[in-house]
Amino acid sequence: MNSAQTNWFDTPAPPADDDILFVDVGGYEGPLDLLLDLARRQKVDLAAISILALAEQYLLFIDKVREKRIEVAADYLVMAAWLAYLKSRLMVPQAASDDEPSGEMLAAMLQFRLKRLEAMRTVASQLMNRPRLGLQVYARGMPEPIQIDRKSLWEASLYELLKAYSVQREKGVVTDYAPIQRTVWSLQDARDILQRLIGDSFDWVPMDSYLIDYLASPTERATIRASTFASSLELVRQGQIDIRQSETFGPLFVRRHRSNPS
């Protein structure tokens, strides 16, 4: 099952040497990758590789690709230019006054980079072939997670407690408060009663004496007096009765109005 993983490092599959011209440059991860692939085809250890031969192969490859009018990414061309320079440094003997790095040093640097890239690929492969968690090695399948019990500590002060109680009791008083249902004589009632009591009596009679039966209950006395008095004024206005009061706060006398003293 690991074959799929290890195979990635061998991609692209190395074609036969003759087919090299048909290799698509797009299959490589950059010029260094291409160089490494070309180097591998020399089938020798990277340490023993001929950098000069490698540089020539690379340049040839790029030339062939460009002949086919395949666009080549810029970094491949940069590498080609650098390799052409390297080639010239390797082929031309170095002048003593030359400050530039020697061809040998440049070649060693390239060789180092190739070895380093290959080394990283090798260890990546080794890494992926290790017993990996979830693939070959497993963690506990039924973990028992730590449960966090939230315990609430309630906070309340005595003041809050007393306030809550007082507010409710006050509220309770208000809702419990039923205004005393007083019997109220409506003006109409008072008027009907007064009319009936006075009847056809033309004598002056104190109003209270007509109402004596009703005034026994002290709670109703006020409403009866008020309503009767108000109604009596109305009856006077209509010319039905007469009212007389001889002194301030004195008793009120009523009698039937003689409508036509003829």
Binding site: I146, I148, S152, A156, L161, Y165, K171, V173
Partner: protein, 218 residues
């Protein structure tokens, strides 16, 4: 003969390792049948499991059988390791505060008593919360139809509110004096004296199975 026994022992050890790993990694308890697929048909799975169970007996993790399935579980006595209590302080809700204060003054108080003062029904959650807080307790049952549970406050209540006894709860005049109650209340209004004796004349002791929960009928 000896060699044969040694071989068999080695095979058993191998089987035990496999079972250990499979049971550890499995996302669910495994039955004997599926365990067999890992060790091969020939193995005496029952005795292997018993051996494994014995090896883990007394350890921090035990091999337990649930129905016909097997799984590793944290030893029961270490369950507390996997629980952590996080304490957070929260203010008491108004409903709870009101209910508590009514129970404090009117105890022993039934749910109906509380509702008579509050004017609204008190959810079971509020009572539960106060019980959980340790401030109220079930005292008994009132000797009236339905035998409703009576509630009273606890020592923890006194402790929390800094009261030496229920008698320390301020009375009517003190509440008025503190401005908590207005002075224009009808003279008929009374504040009860909280009762903290054992049981009142109209109270029965709690039924044996009352401790688990409150009455739902009330």
């Amino acid at each position: 003969m000896n060699e044969l026994a040694a071989d068999s022992l080695q095979l058993d050890e191998r089987h035990l390792r496999v079972l250990e790993a499979v049971l550890f990694a499995s996302t669910e308890p495994l039955d004997v049948h599926s365990l067999l697929t890992y060790v091969g048909e020939g193995a005496d799975i029952a005795s292997l499991l018993v051996t494994l169970q014995q090896r883990y007996a007394g350890r921090g993790v035990n091999l337990v059988q649930r129905g016909d399935k097997w799984a590793f579980r944290t030893a029961e006595d270490l369950g507390f390791l996997l629980r952590r209590e996080d304490e957070e302080t929260r203010p008491l809700s108004r409903a709870a505060l009101e209910t508590l204060s009514i129970i404090a003054y009117h105890q022993p108080a039934t749910r109906a008593d509380i509702e008579a003062v509050r004017g609204v029904a008190t959810g079971g959650g509020t009572i539960d919360l106060l019980m959980e807080a340790g401030w109220i307790r079930m005292r008994g049952r009132r000797r009236t139809p339905g035998r409703p549970v009576t509630y009273g406050t606890t020592d923890a209540f006194l402790d929390h509110f800094g009261l030496e006894s229920l008698g320390d709860l301020p009375g009517l005049e003190e509440l008025k004096g503190a401005g908590l109650l207005s002075n224009r209340l009808p003279p008929s209004m009374q504040i009860p004296l909280p009762f903290d004796g054992a049981l009142r004349d109209d109270e029965d002791p709690l039924d044996p199975d009352d401790q688990d929960g409150e009455d739902e009928s009330a």
